[in-house]
Amino acid sequence: MSLLFSLGNQPFILLAADMKQAIALNERDTVCTVLDAVEAGETIEVLRDGQVIQHLEVKEAVPKYFKVTLVAQSEDDEVIKYGEIIGQLNHDVQIGDLIHVDALRSIKV
């Protein structure tokens, strides 16, 4: 993506990096997996089957291949990935929050 504008009499080209991407495999998923490290405040595009289904602003730094929530949820709500429950939340979350071992607890073990 690039923008052409002028500053004074000089033309300027501002090159913006392509938006970072995340994947959500199943339509029931409440989280997506980022394909690149993302900084707090960055907007990412969420893909399913190669189609963009959502954009969201990431609330905190997210390492590559970690998960970000697609929906706001409350403590003890179930987190869904691959269309199935992968755990329960330890606290409330807003869209764009990082979901990893502090936020998510296993139900099975």
């Binding site: 190669g50 291949y65 970690f66 990935k81 691959y82 199935e84 755990g87 139900i107 073990v109």
Partner: protein, 396 residues
């Protein structure tokens, strides 16, 4: 194209490699076994992690698995080497092998022969004769319906469930459609998915066996006061983005594909059914793959996120990853890079085709990185190991 070329064994099974095993019955015979194999190209050493001072069903697991190694179709013949006084008697192993296969078999005992130097010399001569005979076996036709594929994941991260595992599942579907067999193991990594797997079982009894397998393991851990969570997901899994065991498991079971599940077998046990099979194996990869080798698998596709270099003494290990960084940094240990699936430059279907093609060329003789590197890991799982009172043990 379902036709392959390989080795037809006298017991009717079809192999894609042609090894002579030097099979140790006990740790005390390992150095002897290693030296015999080192001196004979085509012979491979199978050391024993124990073989003595083992009690209970761990001895049965040991015997079943060792016999399975010898019966594996990639093996032309076996020389069993023991000490003479061990719990795991060489003659009992030989009888167990004979119950599974009529392939060439010799037994040597260090104490009877009179020491290691004489045993090594006699072993080298026996192995040379056996390897030479094995090399005279003419290549024969076989088919994909005779192939059993071992599947395993190691060093998983969040990419594993998003690309290589589902792509492998598509390959598994095709192999099963061609009449072949695919084994899924690592019982701790089925936890959280047992209801899904049970719903795909061919009948109620098999479905119940799946539930029994997974719930039985959870109960055993609880009874021992251990947390499965302590070991699984591993630190590497978590650093790679996996948060819970269920998440790891769900990403893992896709390796088996979507077929009906026909049987649940014990560690190292040969299935009597074809198609999709579940085997009870530990999450520790070397022991897990070794069990499937004993179950008759001639080849393994092994998915990894963080990068895993292991091979196997008896079967080729095809390493695949969906993590582009790993495919580059550990190129020496990776056979197939499927990271294109994550940036949509490769579809899951194309990924599945790449794995399937690589499976066939490997069966036809193409070497994997682990074979080129000469890596021959093999190990048998042991349970019931309580020999020390563990003074001053700390809580982990």
């Amino acid at each position: 194209m379902n036709e392959l070329v390989g080795y037809r064994r006298p017991d009717g099974r079809f192999g894609i490699r042609n090894y002579v095993l030097i099979l140790s019955t006990v740790g005390c015979a390992n150095e002897t076994v290693k030296r015999i194999a080192d001196q004979v190209d085509g012979a491979v050493a199978i050391p024993n992690q124990k073989g003595c001072g083992q009690v209970g069903d761990s001895m049965e697991i040991l015997r079943r698995t060792m016999a399975g190694f010898a019966a594996n179709p990639n093996v032309y013949g076996t020389i069993v080497v023991g000490l003479g006084c061990e719990t795991n008697k060489p003659q009992v192993i030989a009888e167990r092998i004979r119950s599974l296969t009529n392939k060439p078999l010799e037994v040597m005992t260090i104490q009877a022969i009179g020491g290691t130097v004489k045993t090594i010399e006699a072993g080298i001569k026996l192995a040379q004769t056996m390897v030479a005979a094995g090399r005279r076996v003419e290549l024969s036709k076989g088919s994909l319906s005779e192939i059993t594929l071992a599947t395993n994941c190691g060093g998983s991260d969040a990419t594993s469930g998003l690309s290589p595992n589902p792509a492998l599942g598509l390959c598994s579907d095709r192999l099963i459609q061609a009449g072949g067999t695919v084994i899924l193991g690592e019982t701790t990594e089925l936890i959280g998915t047992e209801h899904i797997l049970a719903s795909r079982a061919k009948d109620t009894a098999t479905g119940e066996r799946i539930l029994e397998l997974v719930q039985g393991l959870e109960t055993t851990f609880a009874a021992m006061g251990l947390s499965v969570r302590g070991a699984n997901p591993t630190p590497g899994n978590m650093a790679g983005g996996l948060s819970t065991l269920e998440e790891k498991s769900l990403g893992g079971i896709s390796k088996l594909g979507s077929s009906m599940i026909n049987q649940v077998v014990r560690y190292g046990e040969m299935p009597t059914q074809k198609g999709a099979i579940i085997m009870d194996t530990p999450g520790y990869d070397i022991e897990s793959v070794s069990a499937m080798v004993a179950g008759g698998a001639q080849v393994c596709v092994f998915t990894t996120g963080r990068g895993n270099p292991i091979g196997n003494a008896i079967i080729p290990m095809i390493k695949i990853t969906g993590n582009g960084d790993t495919a580059q940094t550990m190129a020496d240990n990776i056979d197939l890079d499927l990271s294109g699936i994550l940036n949509a430059s490769l579809s899951l279907k194309e990924g599945g085709q790449l794995i399937y093609d690589r499976l066939i060329t490997t069966c036809m003789g193409e070497l994997t990185k682990s074979e080129i590197n000469g890596f021959k890991e093999i190990a048998i799982y042991r349970n019931n190991e309580v020999w020390c009172c563990n003074l001053d043990a700390e809580e982990v």
